[in-house]
Symmetry: C2
Subunit: 460 residues, 2 copies
């Protein structure tokens, strides 16, 4: 007969490790570095500090190709009470908020630890201080079939110096020779988008790669926001009602949603046929449907975007200039737009000529929430846009020395995979990237025609 | 401070519905039909019956674009005890086995129900009989934040006729106008790969599409198999040990793994330095590592493949012929191969000329475990292979009227997304598809040159 059973998310991911980006040892090494560094950058952003991130990869067993990856940061740290689940239980984390963060799923570091246990089975070490005084040392394993942490040891030290931050050490089967290029590209692109970060990477051969700090101010961090009425479905509304402390519908609407003032709240409730004094916890299913209907029929300003944290056109310009040394750069930072009630900002750039190599012709450097995307290019919305644009009309022929840079940031991005490798081809996002790139293309066209005229002028 | 919390998989998927293929109402309607029909075909395969599948889509609310999707099959049915969790709790199902099945994750139908609750919030109806006598009627909702079913009603009827099977009725927000083409393509391609199935589809306009049975024998169904030694990692070994009833290592190896006879079991244990009489439940971590090491250093025959269920070259040929009416078809069914200890079979075909339209030039029809793949083409391994082949060398120019068909089946396919939209570009699979397509291309080249000679002969 059929065997019905329940499994945990960690068990499923272990069976289908291709879901999380660990399909071979080379990609596994890259993905591990990415997940660790993304977490460190989120933590430093949370702590509002200039990031100091140290990464070391060591080959501990050449026969079995086991590597140790150690990442240390000066971020917010993880409170001792939360360490076991944060590092040992999938679908546990601190980023389930309506805020722009690099991590969002609550599984990233656990994916690394799981792969490590499948291929190497050394415990994971976490050393962290979240109060700058007590330092906790944990040795952990994941109990995969139960999705629970297993604490091997836990010690507390009192520091006589103020240190806050986190150190994570994992062992995985990897392939540095094939992963090296991608790891360096990820770190380099991360440095471009986060120039206030100081990153040091020591590789298995002892080579030191240092990405010095380019600016010394911490950028304005992302903030949490409330839902826009157009970003709410019936299940989310149920959740908002559950956590709301409002005693009547007017304050419920004004406190829990963007762009709703008193006047608009009254209008919405009238449209929905809901009494103003009703306690939101008493809303029936049909009243909730009526409320969402009213949301759909009332005009709202587009979602607020002050809570987002784009790269910034000066920073993007400077980062590209230092890295690619082109003869020309055009940057376009679009006004905020929105998709399903969530605000997003697109920033794009074109770099042309100079030191750009022929083999990098039409290379696309992508970012999502300031994180470099290095895989699954062909399904990504940026690639779809680049392929649609008639570049020749802008004086850019095939094989021109042009590099395209795209960044999309939002408090909710439409990721298609559990390793966030690419962004879905959503019409609103597609349109914004296209307008940004066309804007850059027009600037490039102007530059190229001026250059041509100057050249023909000089000829005479 | 930071808010650490745990969430359920259903809550995560509700927040990131782009993970499961429901990013817009049109794709949602398509994906819903796919998930329901895939489940029906799996159920009919389980019951070893000639599938009778009835699909009806009705528009129940034109303003809000709410559709009802009803799918009825004569498959194995779902035991009453299992219905609530099978239809109301993610990561619950009967397909967590080492067997080739269309469904594998235990979330498919729940993704449909979740999207329905987000956009329409009508209960789901399930009517099922698994013993041909008692018919159970359920009305269910999903409790999304807890990943639990909520049973609204449950009734039992005794049938005075023998009926076994399942009927599922869901309500979702959809867009039939934009989904129609894809739904029909999915059903048509499903009929090609499953010609023993009788499928009737009634659409919202009352149009009836019938896919008559092409053959009257039930194909050899897929079977469950045990792990090949090369398909086992440390976590899987832990699980195998946990469920094993063997009292010594020799029987443990022979009973739980493919390709291990008594002689080989002795050799493996000697290499690993493990006593033959040891109870497997007493294996230490280092002994388990030594066992996997020994597995890696012993030569094994490649995994058995008799448990797989390919389409069959005659069936593929006939299905393509009826559907595309080409002037020439080449089919290549490769011998079984393996990837990470799991056997897989590749079948490919090329159709040329005849009724193939110019706009379908180089169209790729893909299947995975007999299920048509209609999205994310550009990241799929088949597309990567097709783009690598120098078709002109085989007499096939750009814009030639050629359609390419690929099928990969296995008891474990490397899916990259939770909606199984494409197969990862794994070297072993890539290679097999390439060899199969080149084989077909050579046959096509032969045909085209013969055709050319005949034409020039006739000219004189
Ligand atoms: N270096 C770190 N500093 C501070 N907190 C960390 C660090 N690494 C992990 N954490 C904490 O552990 C939690 C789990 O991390 P994990 O990477 O699994 O998930 P996530 O980052 O929330 O989301 P994602 O799965 O998208 O990466 C985080 O939410 C964060 O609270
Ligand atoms: N029409 C049906 N007939 C018989 N059993 C069914 C039917 N539909 C669903 N089931 C049962 O419900 C379970 C859950 O279905 P669901 O689609 O969620 O997961 P799955 O098919 O196992 O995997 P996947 O997520 O890949 O689709 C199945 O494993 C199966 O046992
Ligand atoms: Mg993370
Ligand atoms: Mg299913």
């Amino acid at each position: 007969g059929k065997k019905y059973k329940r499994i945990t998310i960690s068990k499923l991911i272990q069976e289908y490790i291709s879901l999380t980006g660990f399909e071979n040892p080379s990609k596994a090494l890259y993905t591990s570095v990415k997940e660790l560094v993304d977490n460190s950058l989120d933590a430093c952003e949370e702590a509002r500090v200039l990031p100091e991130i140290f990464i070391r990869i060591l080959e501990v067993d050449p026969d079995k190709r086991i590597f140790n990856i150690l990442v240390w940061d000066n971020g917010s740290g993880v409170p001792a009470f939360n360490v076991p689940f944060a590092f040992g239980s999938m679908l546990y984390g601190s980023k389930y908020t309506t805020k722009q963060t690099r991590g969002v799923f609550g599984i990233g570091i656990k994916n690394v630890i799981l792969y490590g246990q499948m291929t190497a089975h050394y415990p994971t070490t976490v050393i962290s201080s979240s109060d700058g005084r007590n330092i906790y040392y944990f040795e952990l394993l994941m109990e995969v079939s139960e999705n629970k942490p297993h604490i091997i040891s836990c010690k507390r030290y009192v520091a006589n110096f103020a240190w806050r931050g986190t150190l994570v050490s994992v062992f995985i089967k990897g392939n540095y020779r094939n992963a090296r290029h991608r790891i360096l590209e990820y770190l380099k692109n991360t440095a471009i988008a986060n120039p206030h970060a100081h990153i040091v990477f020591i590789d298995p051969h002892g080579v030191v790669y240092e990405f010095k700090r380019g600016i010394s101010e911490v950028p304005e961090p992302p903030k949490e926001t409330v839902y826009h009425p157009h970003g709410v479905d019936l299940e989310q509304l149920k959740e908002i009602i559950l956590h709301s402390r409002s005693k009547d519908m007017i304050s419920f609407l004004m406190d829990n949603f963007q762009r709703i003032g008193r006047k608009r709240a009254i209008e919405i409730l009238r449209k929905a046929g809901i009494p103003e004094s009703l306690n939101p916890k008493k809303l029936t299913i049909s009243q909730r449907k009526a409320l969402l209907d009213a949301f759909r029929h009332v005009r709202f300003e587009r979602p607020q975007s002050g809570h987002l944290s784009p790269i910034g056109d000066h920073i993007l310009y400077e980062g590209i200039r230092k890295e690619l040394l082109p003869e020309f750069i055009a940057v376009s930072a679009r006004k905020p737009s929105s998709y399903r009630g969530h605000a997003f900002i697109v920033e794009c750039a074109l770099a042309y000529g100079g030191e750009i190599k022929p083999k990098d012709s039409f290379k696309i450097i992508r970012y999502a929430n300031k994180v470099p995307l290095l895989h699954s290019l062909s399904e990504d919305v940026s690639k779809k846009v680049v392929d649609e644009i008639k570049w020749s009309r802008y004086g850019v022929p095939m094989q021109a020395p042009i590099v395209i840079v795209t960044h999309v940031c939002s408090d909710k991005l439409p990721y298609r995979t559990l390793c966030k490798e690419y962004i879905a081809d959503i019409p609103e996002i597609h349109q914004e990237i296209k307008l940004a790139l066309l804007e850059c293309a027009r600037k490039l066209k102007l530059y190229l025609s001026k250059k041509k005229r100057r050249a023909s002028f000089l000829k005479r």
